[in-house]
């Protein structure tokens, strides 16, 4: 997330609430390390990156929390927890934790929180993280802010400032929890940048023995059917994206977006109205209730740049907006403004890119000519 939406680092005026004395013993920032079938979810590393920043501001330790089975997969992940910035890692291994299931993971996580008392607990807003976060927060009777797009620390009272778009309009809000601990938040994949991996950073490991009993766990995993990777758009990890919005006017025009995307090897994205109109599949929606993306280049065609769209794509390195309206909000945060009609500019861009790429290919094929 760019700094544009992060709250300024000055104390903000809050409703009057005082943190009860006994909560002041809660210390440290925790990140739940999510994995499924031996694959860590990258959102956990992204959260360690942000968690490092928060922990440094507070002057406390950053911990990763790893729950899992007794096979090798947990041990393999511990090293990464250190490499992505944690000071320590809490590890709880038990055969009951082999596959993710709500009940045993909630039991394990709440026991760890009650034992070691972190002030902040962050989880990915994934199907696993949201499933677990809701149950853990409810069990602990603490506050949870879902799907945050910015996290910061209030320098005044050291509370966690969680920002997210507010309902409708083009506004953001900052949410605080001045009543309970830990302060919990979930963050969607790709919202926070991936931190650098520093191998061999020192890491303390705290093994915690959980008393769990399979016969007390009601839900059983009967099967796991892995997705065929290829058949779904991989928008969150695409380097180039061309997205279309309501400004395209009709479904035929959305084909212009697809055509430019094909020429430059980009994935196709869409705003919510474009998805609602049936011009693009649900998986292609970018924004607060769609995917968060961090491409090298994002071209927004006929998209106004409403805050719910913006929070999903402003992590892009370079943003180009195509819009008839020079005052469109997209130009408040784009790098390039192409003011004009999408139906004319998209084909023109396709040609310009095609010519340029063809020339570059020729140069590549005959490197000798260039040096002459």
């Amino acid at each position: 997330m760019s700094d544009a939406l992060d709250t300024a680092a000055k104390p903000i005026k809050k409703p009057k609430r005082v943190l009860p004395e006994h909560f002041k013993s809660y210390k440290g920032v925790w990140v739940f390390i999510e994995h499924e079938h031996g694959h860590p979810h990258p959102v956990s590393w992204e959260l360690l990156g942000k968690g490092r920043e928060l922990a440094d501001k507070l002057g406390v330790e950053l911990a990763g929390v790893l729950l899992g089975g007794t096979g090798g997969e947990v041990a393999a992940l511990v090293k990464d927890v250190g490499a992505y910035g944690a000071d320590l890692c809490y590890v709880a291994r038990h055969p009951v934790l082999d596959d993710y299931r709500n009940q045993p993971y909630t039991l394990g996580m709440t026991e760890l929180v009650n034992t070691y008392q972190p002030e902040i607990l962050l989880l990915g807003a994934t199907t696993q993280g949201r499933d677990l976060a809701g149950s853990v927060a409810t069990t602990l009777l603490t506050g949870l802010t879902a799907d945050c797009t910015g996290l910061d620390i209030d320098p005044g009272d050291r509370s966690l400032l969680s920002s997210r778009p507010t309902f409708g309009g083009s506004l953001m809000c900052t949410i605080v929890n001045l009543a309970t601990r830990p302060q919990m938040a979930t963050v969607r994949p790709r919202v926070m940048p991936m931190p650098a991996r520093v191998p061999d950073r020192p890491l303390r490991v705290v093994e915690h023995a959980l008393q769990l009993d399979e016969s007390a766990i009601v839900t059983k995993v009967v099967d796991f059917i892995p997705d065929a990777r290829a058949d779904k758009p991989q928008l969150p990890f695409a380097d180039f994206i061309v997205s279309g919005g309501r400004g395209l006017g009709k479904p035929e025009n959305f084909a212009l977006v697809e055509s430019l995307a094909r020429t430059i090897g980009a994935e196709v994205g869409a705003s919510r109205p474009a998805v609602h109109a049936g011009w693009a599949e649900v998986e292609r929606q970018v924004g607060q209730s769609g995917k968060t993306v961090r491409p090298k280049l994002y071209i927004a065609a006929g998209i106004s740049g409403a805050v719910q769209h913006r929070v999903g794509m402003e992590g892009a390195d370079v943003i180009a907006g195509i819009n008839l309206d020079p005052e469109a909000p997209i130009f408040d945060f784009a790098n390039y403004a192409l003011i004009g009609n999408v139906t004319e500019l998209l084909p023109a861009l396709e040609q310009a890119f095609a010519r340029r790429l063809a020339a570059a290919r020729t140069r590549r094929a005959n490197p000798a000519e260039e040096t002459v």
Partner: protein, 287 residues
Amino acid sequence: MHIAVCIKQVPDSAQIRVHPVTNTIMRQGVPTIINPYDLFALEEALRIKDRTAAKVTVLTMGPPQADDALRKCLAFGADEAVLITDKVFSGADTLATSYVLAAALKTLDAREPVDLVFTGKQTIDGDTAQVGPGIATRLGYQLLTYVSKIRELDADSRRILVERRAEGGVQVLESALPAVVTMLEGTNEIRFADMPGMFRAARQEVERWNRDAIGVDLAKVGLKGSPTVVAQVFGPKPKAVKAFRVAGDTPAAMAEAFVDRLFADYPHLEEAMLEHLEQVDRQGAKE
């Protein structure tokens, strides 16, 4: 079998305003709909009703106007509807919302045992996907989130077998009733409400339950029972550097100028694009 479906009435558009003093949303004058995600939950419940003659009760916590949304559910085929409404419930975050809904479900269960609770995946206004897990945790029911398919359901053996969308695959889970199922979108399509259904819905009584009817602790509901509070509302800030306005008399000229400028400013982009395209070609050749 008795199935409860939690639905929420939500504003239909993005035109909602925020109250400048209380920082809560102002709902006046905005058209409302049933949260679209909840229709998948309702339809799934109605399909079970079609197969097994189950009874379907819909519930919502909301203002008196939410009566409309419940009547629509009755028109689709739900048997009974309960509106949980009380001014002390307003301003609730997910913790306080799940507390009230769980209390209402307990009240319903005492009257006629509840086997299965459905919620939508998330709401389009709150957008948290946390209320379903909250309800299950409070009631001690099994939680099955992001369910794309109910493969088997048997009231006698209290068994349920579902497919759940997990990260990187589908989990097949076997569990026991009572359970809370949060239904994934796109898994079914809501039926049409027929004329007899609409007439029945217009006449039928929608029960109203307030704080006394569901016996709640006032410290745990509404704004007071919500640990998370909005501290500030702000507009997104423009970037320090304004967007570079690409000049050009014709679309073609503007496009050429843009591509030149882009690759001059970010030379690595051209390399990356070429390499990516070559990779795509190679993959295409393999298939």
